[in-house]
Amino acid sequence: MLDPKAIRSQFPLLLREISGEPIVYLDSAATSQKPDAVLEAMMNVYRTSNANAHRGMHPLAEEATQQYEKARATVQKFLNAKYAEEIVFTKSCTEAINLVAHTVSQQDHIVLSLLEHHSNIIPWMQRDAHIHWTNLSDLEEILRTHTISLVAITGQSNVLGIRPPIEEIIQLSHAAGAKVLVDAAQLVAHHPIHVQKLDCDFLTFSSHKLYGPTGIGVLYAKRECLEEMSPMLGGGGMVYSIAEQSFTPLGIPEKFEAGTPPVADAIGLATAIDWLAHYDWKDIEEYEQHLLRHAEEVLTTIPGLTILNLQPHSAKAPRGDLQPQSGCISFTLAAVHPHDLTEILGRQGICLRAGHHCAQPIHKHLGIAASTRLSVGIYNTIEEINLLPSAIEHAQHVLATT
């Protein structure tokens, strides 16, 4: 079992108060807070060993290079990738997806699910690729009737918290000759990932949703995929040699990492991964499920509150038919706009996200413009969840129109 008190005590930000009330941070799907271990590791880089990686022979440069490459190996192990060079460091999950999208063209047919975040939609649109939207149940049909180059799908919805069956989707897609990109931005902090077992071609995530720093993300890609791809950014650190009119890039992964690499951020990410490894995935998942199921229970007692799911109207469906939601749940509240609700909750230190959460297609599909999202990390507690009903009812009271 996880000890949330012991975990919380490692997060200095969670000690903060807002208007005299302790902060209740329920927005980890937007970005997680960072434990002391990560903060100290990054501070330590700048205090004791800061230098540019892959540039220079002096001892500090050597150390920076070693630490940066060690961070890559940590990510490789974390994702169960076969080779370290299959890990490309990027600025973010968004940049990682763009890096892959950069290699598609107008002729490519791409499948996206209705659950996708704008980061996994816009980059494909920018390439003028032909987009096929799937509600998941029609995926086989789409794969049969079109020549699809790539299926790009989220591992966990950042609105509904549901997890598409990615193993099955990857098998189906491969059978149809399509590659698969898994957007693991939301999945990564809540479920172990084994890219070799999954057999996905690409997988992306951001460090900042995994208890690590902002400013660094990861693209995992099978070695043969990376070797075929052309780099998106050109600059220092990615070139083997330059001729009068052309250049030869370095091999993978360097050819995708132009410019000074984010050394301290990579070390911060590796530290976050090592820190998280102190806890058992089974315990993490059990504890977060416990929090979310409890949240569901207390929220549904509030009149006018509806928790969003893919089948919002099939109240008759047995509970077991709906997939369990992980990481987050989102809801609407009759006659109260999410912005008003979260603004009023925020005054009591309760931080929830409002809006369309960069996922307009799923909101459109559900016939709503915006929702309120509650998301958890391993530092949240049942006591925090229990503050919600009265706080939400207070907001309802303030805004009551009748």
Binding site: H337, P338, H339, D340, E343, I344, A354, G355, H356, Q360, H363, I368, A369, A370, V398, L399, A400, T401
Partner: protein, 138 residues
């Protein structure tokens, strides 16, 4: 001041001049010769707020403003206040109304997050006015 101050909540709870009917629909077929009706719908996809505003204008005089919409307390209250503010005024008064004037009318200081909400109605009004100018030239 609190953005959920009583005056804002009052306009949100009891919106003035809110009607699903446009001025044109209200006055019906017998519209006087020198009246112009105009309508504009403005929305903010980022939060799903939407306001449709209708104007009945005689020469440059604003006879009626009616509006309908959905959204947060700020966007709806701001529109309600504007509809009171400009009924009986001139089109120039609307054109000259600034962001600062809007904040002064609301009586609150809004951060960048909520400023868009506060300005949604004013944007709709000003865009409706543009259709006024255009119609004049025909």
């Amino acid at each position: 001041m609190d953005i959920y101050a009583e005056n804002i909540l009052d306009h949100y709870r009891n919106p003035r001049n809110r009607s699903p009917l446009s001025p044109q629909e209200r006055i019906g077929k017998d519209r006087p010769e020198d009246h112009q009706f105009m309508q504009y719908t403005e929305n903010n996809p980022a939060c799903g707020d939407e306001i449709t505003v209708g104007l009945d204008i005689q020469n440059t005089h604003v006879c009626t403003i009616s509006w309908d919409g959905t959204g947060c307390a700020i966007s709806q209250a701001a529109m309600s206040m504007l509809s009171e503010q400009f009924t009986g005024k001139s089109v120039e008064d609307i054109e000259n109304f600034s962001t600062e004037d809007m904040l002064a009318l609301l009586g609150v200081n809004l951060g960048p997050r909520r400023l868009k909400c506060a300005l949604l109605g004013l944007d709709a009004l000003k865009k409706a006015m543009k259709s006024h100018g255009a119609a004049d030239e025909d």
